[in-house]
Amino acid sequence: MRRYASALTGHGARGLAVTYLSLVVLIPIAAVVTHALGNGLGSFWSALTQPEALSAIRLTLWCAAGGALLNMVAGTATAWVLVRDRFPGQSILNALIDLPFALPTVVAGVTFYTLYGPHSPFHVNVTGTWIGITIAITFVTLPFSVRAVQPILEARTFTAEAAAATLGASTLRVFRTITLPAMLPAILTGTGLAFARALGEYGSVVFISNNLPYRSEVASSYVYSLATSGQVDAASAVSLGLLVMALIVLIGVNVAAHRIGRSQ
């Protein structure tokens, strides 16, 4: 069995994985990098530091951070309720969590525009504001936070809480000293993934943001306008900037989660 598995890994599967990753991930990224740096570091830097680019990136970072933090709290609470609580319709709610992944982001974008746009049935118009953008981002990235934390809370595999209770700890103390530390790496990972994903969010944001340069234009939408007006190299430069930021966050979060969870 072992020999069979290692033969498969050694030849077939490993080759397939490397080819697949190259085609789907590495080659496109290499193309972006080539375009972005094709005219030298100087022009890369100037494309990235255009006032409009800086403004779009700043707005994107703030909204992504806001959405990720919101999901860190609300997503963890949702995961808690889904695993620890029992109520009618629970399994339906659990299935709905994946909806933001499955739903085309444009559909989400149009929905938010109808709900919170100029024709809002609640007379709440957040178009062109950071609030509207953050709502869209929070929706799209919710599954990351919930799904990362959920498995940790499964009681069958997590008897440490009961053990702490038999040792005299109160419910609050059990949560603070046992549950939360055990969840922390997963919470960090989920938040990091949500943030990284939010940096490039386009479809759900583009309607509600109104794309007003210097005011409500997010980075992805700025990249789109650059690319469609023929400035492909500048578009690639901003893209590479986003890519590097996403990578830094992902690596940072992974290192932190690993440090915390090292002993787990």
Partner: protein, 308 residues
């Protein structure tokens, strides 16, 4: 501290898991709750600890009704089957947890934890994390952690099930002597009859949520009160329609009684298993190595079988 269980009944949804279970566990005893999986033994243990609710019935500790007392106020040491380590804490902090909850000062805490680590032979492992321990070491850490709160009752849920045979064997002997030394009333849940026989001085046999029999190991083994207990406590074989333990039968010369033909001889170190076939059934006789050498059964030869 004695434990009195009265009419404990528990359903999981529509399933009856415990059906009017009553028992009195004497102070200082080592009782094994023995039964196949699904017999309700682990649920009963969790009910005693206050980790599981019950439909009706009462749990008394030393004459005090604790049925509605929360687990954290019962002062019961509980060792979980998976040891439930606090993975983000060192071994020292794991053992110190219950003392910290009780606001024992740092110096006193250190002294007590060091003693406990010595007791479970983990003195050099205080700085490690549970992940860095072997299964047996993790088990001993869990035991030290449970003992730290100076419980008057110790509950062990399948304590040796996840260990390999050799470590499990060593730990059984050690836990038994530790329990005698501390005199702490202990209940151990197991599905392994030899483990129960070896460790406990009192065995409670559970089957489908009901107590089948209670008694010292010898008694339940030699005088089983039901076919279930008889079959569950050790292997059975039939000779001329009657159920016997294989070591309660012996092989004799062919003309000493009803005939059977030897069809297989299996040597398992100390014991030798001889399979014989008569016109009625296939029977299995267990001989010691010594007996087997004297009788020297050969496959294909004719013998007779007699109860010892």
């Amino acid at each position: 501290m004695s434990i009195v269980l009265k009419n404990i009944t528990k359903h999981f949804g529509p399933d009856l898991v415990l059906d009017e279970v009553s028992d009195e566990i004497p102070s200082g005893s080592m009782t094994a709750l023995l039964g196949p999986s699904g017999s309700g033994k682990s649920t009963l243990l969790r009910i005693i600890a206050g980790l599981e609710s019950l439909d009706h019935g009462t749990v008394e500790l030393h004459g005090r009704d604790v049925t509605s007392v929360e687990a954290r106020h019962r002062q019961i040491g509980f060792c979980f089957q998976d040891y439930a380590p606090f993975n983000q804490m060192t071994v020292f902090d794991n053992v110190a947890y219950g003392l910290k909850v009780r606001r024992i000062g740092t110096a006193q805490r250190k002294k007590e934890v060091d003693e406990l680590l010595g007791l479970v032979r983990l003195s050099d492992f205080g700085d490690r994390y549970p992940r860095q321990l072997s299964g047996g070491q993790r088990q001993r850490m869990a035991l030290a952690r449970a003992l730290a709160i100076k419980p008057e009752v110790l509950l062990l849920d399948e304590p040796f099930a996840a260990l390999d045979a050799q470590v499990s064997g060593e730990l059984r002997v050690w836990v038994r002597s530790l329990q005698r030394e501390l005199g702490i009333t202990t209940i151990l849940v197991t599905h392994n009859q030899s483990e129960a026989m070896e460790v406990a001085d009192r065995i409670v046999i559970l089957h489908e949520g009901r107590i089948e029999q209670v008694g010292p190991p010898d008694q339940v083994y030699d005088k089983p009160s039901s076919d279930f207990v008889h079959g569950f406590l050790g292997p059975l074989t039939t000779w001329r329609g009657v159920a016997y333990r294989p070591h309660d039968l012996q092989l004799c010369d062919v003309d000493a009684g009803p005939r059977a033909r030897v069809v297989d001889v299996i040597r398992l170190g100390f014991e030798v298993r001889v399979v014989v076939e008569s016109d009625q059934e296939t029977t299995w006789v267990q001989l010691t190595h010594h007996e087997a050498r004297q009788l020297n059964p050969v496959v294909g030869s004719w013998v007779s079988v007699r109860p010892r």
